[in-house]
Structures are given as structure tokens and as C-alpha cells.
Amino acid sequence: MITLIRLEILRSLRNRRYLFFTILYPALMYFFFVSVYKGGSVAGGVSAKSYFMVSMATFGAVGAVLTGSAQRISLERKSGWVRQLRLTALPGRAYTLAKIASCAATTLPAIVVVFALGAVEGVRLGAGQWLGLVAVLWLGSFVFAALGVALGYAAEPSAVQPIVMIVYMLMAAFGGTWYPISGSMRNFARFNPVYLYNQLAGFIHPGNTLDAAAAAGLAGFLLVFVAAAAFLYRRDTKQA
């Protein structure tokens, strides 16, 4: 099992396309947004540097877990690797657990790289806040790992690829990843896990504490996604 997890992490880090989309792309986007706002602040008075530092970290993290789990699982179901693994002494859930573990391991660099760039750009936080932020965003990424597993068991690779891209982009567009969500859009955004995920980082601003409603909302999404993933996994096991 440990060998499997280690190998899953290793192969993710070896995959150049994966690294590009999860680390390089959000990092470039971060520089882009910072230069567009010229060091100013976004609506609500938060500095663009720290706003986009969080949103690009969540963008990278969500991308990392969705492609790392949904597409991989779907492809490996089709190729027969999942069947092959079922012929080993590994318990059936080991495969899914290893996928989630490797996702969790690869979201860390996606978060940390953008944070490092933020620090270079001049975002100043206390040590506790930095660590807290990494921990909160890292834990939040498990919600999307569960979604990724569910999507991976839901459809064929040819269908999963566009589904993942659409879900990812819609959630990002209406979740405050590229611009702050304000006004009536917030009413809808409350049902968007990416928005809630971005809200989790609010505690770094002076006078704010951890957004309990956002955390509760994400926990709810986690339960729904885990239930869906478990159902689809069982259905797949009966078919294969």
C-alpha cells in the first residue's frame, strides 16, 4: 500500500503536463493578475497581491486534484489497470486511497509555490497565518479530491476530460478565482464549493476569523462527494 502511494506521487510529479497545469500555470496567472492591478486593491479593499495569491493557490489545488484523480481514474479504468490491481492482494479501496493521498501530496507544491511568489511580491503575514493558510487550503482540497474520484468513476475518459474542464472553469469563474464575487452573485456563489474554498482564506485579513459557514458548507460538499464516489465505485466494481 505504501509502495502504491509512493509510486502514485512519484508518477504525478514526473508528468510534465500535470506539473504545468497545476504549478506553472497558476504561478503565471498570478503574475498576470498582479501586474493588471498594479499593486492596487480589489473590490472590498483587499490587496490584489494577497487576494490572487489565495485564489491562484486554490485554482492550482483544485486543478491538481481534479485532473490527478478524475482523469487518471477514468483512464485507468479503461486501460484495465484497475482490473489488474484487483488481482493483487491489495484491498479494493487501496487504489482510491492512494489516488487521494497522491492528490493531497501534489496539492502542497501547487499551494506553496504560489505562496512563495506572493511573499516575493510583498504579501506580509505572520508565521502562524502562513501555516494556517497552507493547512486550511490543503485540507479544503480533499473536498475536490472526493469530487474527482466520483467523476473518475462516473464516465469514460473521453467524457471525463470535458466534464472536468467545464466543472472546473465554471466553479472558478463564479467562485471568485479570477475576480471578486459581489452583489447578487453571492447568493449563487454560496452553493459553489470553489467560492467557499476561497472564503476559507478570509481569516488572514485583519479583524476576520475563520469563516465557519464556508467551512460547514465545504464539509457538506465533502459528504455529498464522498457518498457519490462510494456509490459509483461500488457500481464500477460490479461491472468490471
Binding site: 509502495t3 509510486l7 508528468n15 486501460s79 484495465g80 482490473r83 484487483r86 488481482l87 493483487t88
Partner: protein, 320 residues
């Protein structure tokens, strides 16, 4: 008969996919140390049967056991190694890493170096799995199947994509596994493999087991031997009825009227009596040859007979 003597058992197993009956009333027991070939045309139910055997699918009816218990339990105990036709491989890893994984997860895993050597993949151990040729991939799959001390090895068309020399080397490795007391079950398209490697041959057709025996027995079932000779008119008169009266006849062909020479081909279950009968009838067969049928011809004969029987049944059913 104690269940300890059974490696695998199918008891009245049936499995359908929608309206297609993939496996129908399969009854079968594998014994320790047997090397068993599973033959059948495409769609005969070979892969479905192996899926059921390995617990990848559940039968609609009947039961499948491995070592007296559930297939999954035998797999978790590391008693079964399998190489599936549809078994994909992990990408973005090296061959060495993938085989190491198989060794690690097996309860009685072998040493990596030994597995690489036995599977003949030492020289490609540092290649990426996604950069292998079809034959190389097959050998990696084989390595995964023999990464630990299994009692049963199941192979679905293992030599597909291998060239002739690699195939020969593969079967040498496989024989070593069988000699070490392992039970080997393999499905194949290549009948000469079944003929030369297996000590028991199963023929599946339309989900049913239509023959089960040694290669020689299967050939006998098909009308085992072939007799050919020429009759020259200068040696005396001849009527086809004389040949039709021969015992054990499965088929008879008489051809070649040119220059008073007729060539005769007979397929028969009792070639010895036929040859004696020819002389008793006063015939003088020239260029007499008596040979055994290849397994391939036997296979075609058996499945063809089955098709003919099924054809009769189907027309009866549709007439109702």
C-alpha cells in the same frame, strides 16, 4: 473427494450480459499441478470464464470457488497470479518500479531481480512503461502475474503480440512454473501452444464446455485420424459403397478421376480397422498414409459439429 484437492471449481455456472449468454452451465474442476489450456473461438466465453474465476464478476447462477473458498479470498492470500488480456499497466513509471510494486503487495513476493530475470525483462527494467512494444508489455504483465509464490497462474492469451522466439522463451518459463508444482490455466488462440504445453485441453463454444481431455483425446473425439491413399483402376474395379461400409467413418472424400486414378481421403475414429477393411475388400491402396489430425482440425471439427447441432435446435425453437 476433499476440497483440498481442488484448485478451482465451477459448479453449474451461468452468466449473461443482457440477452447474450456468455457462460452457460459450466461445470469444471482444476486439480493441483495441471497445465490446462482453454480453447474457443472469439466470443466463446473464455475471458468471461476467467473473469468469473478471478472474482472480477459474479455469476448469475452457480458458484465459483478457488482453493475451496471465495475467489477474492484466494487472491488476497496471494495464491493466484493472473495476466489478463485487458490488464492495463500503470503509466509514467519504470518497469522496475511497477514490478517492485507487484512484489511488495504480494504476501509471499519474490525478489525483484528474480522476477525480472524470470520474465526476461532485465534489459527493459529502466524503460518507461508507456514506451514499450506490445510484446514487451505482455512480458511485463507476465512479471506481475509471477511476482510472488502463487499456487495458480491464470493467463488470458499471454503470447499475443510476442514474436516466435520470445513466445518460445515464454513457454519455457511457463513450463518451469508448472514443473515447480503450480497449476497453470491459459486461454489461447494458438492451438499448437495448447497441443505442446497443456496436459489438459478445454474447448469452450458459445459459453458451453464441449470438450475436456488431453490433447490426444480431443483429437480422438474429432475423428482422430486421417487416412489417404490412391486407387488405380489398373488394380481392379472399385465402388464408393465399399468405402462407405468401413467402420468409424467420420468423413469421406473421393476425387481425381484423371487417368484412372482416384485419390481418397478418410477421417475416421478407427483407422486401424479401416486399413484392414480396405485389404479385405480386395482393394489395393497405393501411397497409403495414416496420420493424426492436428489439434486445429480437431477443434474446427468439434465446434463445427456443435454449430450444426445448435442450428437444428434453433430452427426447432423458431418453428414453435
Amino acid at each position: 473427494m476433499s476440497s483440498g484437492e481442488e484448485v478451482a471449481a465451477f459448479r453449474q455456472v451461468s452468466k449473461s450480459y443482457g440477452r447474450v449468454k456468455a457462460v452457460s452451465g459450466l461445470d469444471l474442476v482444476l486439480r493441483p499441478g495441471e497445465t490446462v489450456a482453454l480453447l474457443g473461438p472469439n466470443g466463446a466465453g473464455k475471458s468471461s470464464s476467467l473473469d468469473l474465476l478471478l472474482g472480477l464478476r459474479e455469476p448469475d447462477q452457480g458458484s465459483v470457488t478457488l482453493f475451496g473458498g471465495a475467489p477474492r479470498a484466494a487472491i488476497e492470500a496471494g495464491r493466484v497470479g493472473a495476466m489478463l488480456q485487458s490488464g492495463g499497466l500503470m503509466t509514467d513509471v519504470k518497469v522496475r518500479e511497477l514490478v517492485q510494486l507487484a512484489c511488495d503487495v504480494h504476501p509471499r513476493g519474490h525478489r525483484l531481480a528474480d522476477v525480472l530475470r524470470d520474465a526476461g525483462i532485465e534489459e527493459i527494467a529502466d524503460r518507461r512503461v508507456d514506451k514499450l512494444s506490445g510484446g514487451q508489455e505482455q512480458r511485463v504483465r507476465f512479471a506481475l502475474a509471477v511476482a510472488g509464490a502463487n499456487d495458480l497462474i491464470v493467463l488470458d492469451e499471454p503470447t499475443t503480440g510476442m514474436d516466435v522466439s520470445v513466445r518460445r522463451q515464454f513457454w519455457a518459463t511457463m513450463r518451469a512454473q508448472a514443473d515447480a508444482g503450480r497449476t497453470v490455466l491459459f486461454a489461447t488462440h494458438y492451438l499448437e501452444e495448447a497441443d505442446s504445453v497443456a496436459d489438459r485441453v478445454l474447448v469452450l463454444h458459445r459459453g458451453r464446455l464441449i470438450a475436456d481431455g488431453s490433447s490426444a483425446e480431443i483429437k480422438a473425439k474429432a475423428g482422430a485420424r486421417r487416412i489417404s491413399f490412391e486407387l488405380h483402376s489398373s488394380d481392379g474395379p472399385f465402388e464408393e459403397a465399399m468405402l462407405r461400409a468401413l467402420p468409424g467413418l467420420v468423413s469421406l472424400e473421393v476425387g481425381g478421376h484423371a487417368a484412372g486414378v482416384r485419390s481418397v481421403r478418410i477421417r475416421s475414429t478407427d483407422a486401424d480397422a479401416d486399413v484392414a477393411g480396405l485389404y479385405k475388400a480386395g482393394l489395393y491402396p497405393r501411397g497409403l498414409e495414416v496420420g493424426s489430425l492436428g489439434l486445429e482440425q480437431a477443434f474446427l471439427t468439434i465446434t463445427g459439429e456443435q454449430d450444426a447441432e445448435d442450428g437444428v435446435l434453433e430452427t426447432e425453437e423458431s418453428a414453435r
